[in-house]
Subunit: 262 residues, 2 copies
């Protein structure tokens, strides 16, 4: 029921823009309305194709970037709020489901699938739509305020995968970069939007302070395998969710042109 | 000089279509002219977004595919012959050059960069433009005939990277899935288009018969490292060029929606 309550904002944004997709003027205008105050600008790369930039990001050719190039704000906004982000995510979920269905599972409760949370299970798109679609530098104060509102919608395609995995007898483990002090709001948000059960929800403990996501997530996956779990799948929006050690039998990269985490 | 002689066909195709980019009808018509006989058709996936399919391929979410989906022939053709393929490759080369320039090289002649050949150093686009842009199943007889013509153009952005690396004192090692009996034509073709020197040109020996590219290429990279080489970079159009062991300090994935090699 929570999902039904929280969905409208996401779909409000998405349908608002997808219905006016034929008119570039309209789209730009609407996105601007969603973001009345422009944040500080940073990157300007002359001659850059935003399409090529996004492909470079998604294939992990472009690494360590701080913000979306200024000129790509409109492009990324259209991508995220239009049909393509959803379609791209749908293909990922379809492939993951085909793969999961092809496996012969042991059925001993040790087969797990690792899910990242932000931009994988929960969507922060309503926040980023108000903050320049990644053009504004990351602001932890404002972002944490948003997290504490507990209003992040699900990524519908990931929720579909999650439900399918549960029905196949696979257990889900969330590994998130969110700190321990966001456990309560994160739990509530996950349950509200339909992720109602899990084997473990692993937050980034203070011992990993200053460590990269690759180090933290690899270490936590290693612990899981030491405890006898088999990571049959691993899904995330960042390459740092999927690289390192103990990455799982197969990884799935969801699109995310909004930010980069190493 | 050879490069100048061989370039025209590639650019003939590219400019032919990019100049008529505003008219879809024209593009489709021209591509059809290039491919008078339609090959056997195979994959049809209803509701599939070709853009999402291509992203799925480039991010290694979609694996083990045999042919480009039927409905995506036009899409892939436009992508390959229009501006976007070149622009996407340009971003990859730019990132690779930035990375290479950032390194402090030992200058002892042991810093190498691994290049794949097909769709990385040499382009088979003139062949694929006549064979359905990956929609037709792979035909080794016809493809080998094309290889033996020694008329493959370079990928201009990879050639640019190659020249930059040489100027930085990095040595280049080619590792190709082409068999030993194509060494002579491959050598000639590489030199003709501007790849005039290399530390090693490694062809797939008969001992790797039946082995995947990941196994073969990992094994050859391991041998290189055992001989004291440091693989500072590795570039290829297939994930099987970049995954496995001894992958190098950083990998770069060029676009290739034409075929999949495991």
């Amino acid at each position: 029921m929570g999902m039904l309550l929280l969905f409208p904002f996401f779909f409000f944004l998405a349908t608002l823009l997808s219905t006016t997709e034929s008119s570039n003027h309209h789209i730009t205008h609407q996105i601007h309305l969603l973001r009345p105050q422009s944040g500080s600008r940073s990157t300007d790369i002359p001659g850059l194709s935003c399409q090529s930039w996004r492909l470079g990001v998604e294939t992990n050719n472009i690494r360590g970037w701080k913000t979306v190039p200024d000129k790509c704000e409109g492009y990324v906004g259209h991508y995220m709020l239009g049909q393509q982000y959803r379609k791209d995510s749908e293909v990922v979920a379809n492939e993951a489901i085909l793969y999961a269905q092809s496996l012969k599972l042991a059925g001993d409760g040790k087969d797990i699938w690792v899910f990242d949370i932000d931009e994988t299970s929960l969507s922060n798109l309503p926040y980023y739509a108000k903050h320049g679609f990644g053009v504004e530098p990351y602001n932890s104060t404002l972002f944490n305020e948003w997290v504490n509102k507990v209003t992040a919608p699900s990524l519908p395609e990931s929720l579909r995968l999650y439900k399918k995995l549960l029905s196949l007898g696979v257990k889900v483990v969330f590994i998130t970069g969110r700190p321990e002090d966001q456990r309560k709001v994160t739990t509530k948000n996950l349950i509200n939007v339909g992720f109602h059960t899990w084997e473990k929800l692993i937050h980034k403990g203070s011992s990993y302070s200053g460590k990269t996501a690759v180090v933290y997530k690899s270490s936590e996956r290693k612990k899981l395998e030491k405890r006898g779990y088999r990571i049959i799948g691993n899904i995330g929006d960042q390459w740092s969710d999927l690289l390192g050690t103990n990455t799982g039998n197969r990884t799935f990269k969801l699109p995310d042109p909004l930010y980069y985490i190493s």
